[in-house]
Symmetry: C2
DNA sequence: CTGAAAGCGCTTACAG
DNA sequence: CTGAAAGCGCTTACAG
């Protein structure tokens, strides 16, 4: 299969008996060019289906209008809603997007940052790989390129960060459980505190404190991999305790769904005996029965916001590094798993 | 924030007192260059953290090593697994990927095809928007660029196509229902037959025919939007019939999950009274209780395969347009929703 | 083994 | 209002 030769400025200029410069200017609607010339040029361009080589353009002007995006895992539902927002906003602003998956692997992440820079992206959007320990690579990039972090961030990196109000969302979720009369609320969280898990745990603690409820380490459970299976496993553990909890706050929907599965299996009534709240409003949260009360995270908004700030930085470069943190509000969605009968 | 000036060949050549050409060749390990020169050059390049401007490179060599990908909806789980495969395979082959969402909007799709071409992608991977009626735009692109279609394809477009064995997968699913003793199998499919829905319907019909079972239009149900809600609605309809079916084949998991929800609600025993089979092995299929029997579609493999063929066409351009169809095998996963007790 | 030069397609000061 | 020319960073025939 052969590439059909592309129409270039040169070709247009020859056909029109004008200089390349004039054609270029006419196409870009430069004020210097006469109406009549512009019309002639634009007409032929349309007729020949001319489309500028964006590559040459970008190369010339040192701006590619490409944004690089790095996420740990593209097929997480929440991530994909963020990507949706990123794609939308980028598109309306005339940018294209290159997406890469770090697979939560720091080495890979570093590689990707490098390739993207080489590639000449105008800016980078990144959600950090779990256990990103060496912040150095990211800091290096920051010196050369605008970079905005979202969702998985690190406060050690001085840049614009778009995150959700994890702490407050968790606080609200736990307070909701307290409001419906629950007295002994367990939490299922991550072992090594990721940024998100940490904040959600803090929200849990604050809610208990503000309502003068005791904090009991025995019902603060952690797991390396916060999955459905582990949610189920830890719930089984809770069920085996002498003093069972009457509610479970799982810091992800998957863990929450696992919890409900365990409770269903042992015919524990949800929410009467044990209520469950999850986090992220994933698709599964309405599939499980009873439907899971959860925190809705507006992924698309996060994506759009991150892009807006990035483009702002690209188009209005400042001397100083910007380190703004934008917190996007979440929303507790109450469903049957915590509905007070 | 200021872009730190980038190290270029020129700078290296000045520092080394060599010509730009020599430096370029040394870096590309050209056989003409002496070992010692190569060493000097490569050492300095490393020291100064030189990284080639891929943009200039691509511009020069008329190949960008970027693949354009267009999908209807990035956040469908199946789509995201395909994207994963695409990203993986592209990466290992040294290509980058630009992803766009057509949102099932044909106009948007056409625009994207155009931008990507302008952009100088080396090839395009596309899953067509539903109701893509004017094949013309795609045909235009085909004249200029290698293009491979996957998942949502059209046999009117002569190009390599990577699809799953919809017909056979559906056949197997329905045959499974027959094997467990079901006599009256309903189907929930799409109204306007998309490529996939059409094939799955054909598989359903063939299974019934081969087993000499009657085909009853009354239990062949269609819906515009094959969603969970509509799966539930149509199942309610089935339940209201005098002659209820004893099994439901839903051509998507969502519809199948909706079916189970409806059956659960009316305390119809699944699978004893009515068995259910879905299609795609989505995350929800193991969340619903009873877990949904479904067809596993190896998304990642589809993505990888599509990329392989695309790169093959890019790197070995043929005079003639290739029109191979690659069918990827699927797998029926039997779960509780159809398990013969 | 190394270098000078052309050129990829475009934009943009500079000149007229 | 229009054009000639330089240059973005790189590769690669051509010459020596």
């Amino acid at each position: 299969m052969q590439k059909k030769p592309t129409v270039t400025l040169k070709e247009l200029s020859q056909k029109l008996e004008l200089s390349i410069s004039t054609v270029s200017r006419a196409l870009n609607d430069h004020p210097d060019i006469s109406r009549s010339t512009k019309d002639r040029v634009q007409k032929l361009a349309k007729a020949l289906d001319y489309s500028p080589n964006l590559f040459a353009k970008g190369f010339r002007s040192h701006s590619t209008h490409i944004l690089g995006v790095i996420v740990p895992n593209i097929s997480h539902y929440f991530t994909s809603t963020i990507l949706k927002g990123i794609l939308d906003e980028a598109e309306t602003s005339g940018y294209r997007v290159i997406i890469s998956e770090s697979k939560n692997n720091e080495t890979k992440q570093t590689e990707m940052l490098k390739t993207m820079t080489q590639f000449g992206v105008d800016g980078i959007l990144i959600a950090l790989a779990r256990k990103t320990s060496s912040i150095n690579d990211v800091l290096q990039i920051l010196k050369r390129l605008p970079l905005v972090m979202f969702d998985k961030v690190s406060d050690k990196i001085p840049c614009t960060q778009v995150i959700i109000d994890d702490e407050e969302a968790a606080f609200n979720a736990v307070e909701h459980l307290i409001n419906i009369g629950k007295k002994r609320i367990a939490i299922i969280k991550e072992t090594e505190n990721s940024f998100n898990s940490e904040k959600r745990f803090l929200g849990y603690l604050r809610a208990l404190k503000e309502h003068n409820m005791p904090i009991d380490d025995k019902i603060i459970l952690s797991t390396e991999d916060i999955s459905l299976t582990n949610g189920r496993r830890l719930t089984n553990l809770l069920l085996s305790m002498k003093k069972r909890p009457d509610a479970i706050f799982a810091i992800t929907d998957n863990a929450g769904i696992g919890a409900i599965k365990a409770l269903n299996k042992f015919k524990v009534k949800v929410p009467e005996e044990i209520a469950v709240v999850g986090f992220s409003n994933s698709l599964g949260s309405t599939i499980i029965q009873p439907a899971l009360t959860t925190v809705d995270q507006p992924g698309s908004k996060i994506g759009r916001t991150a892009v807006k700030y990035l483009i702002e930085e690209i188009e209005n470069p400042k001397k100083d590094i910007v380190t703004k943190t934008i917190t996007v509000k979440t929303n507790l969605i109450v469903r049957d798993s915590s509905f007070k009968a």
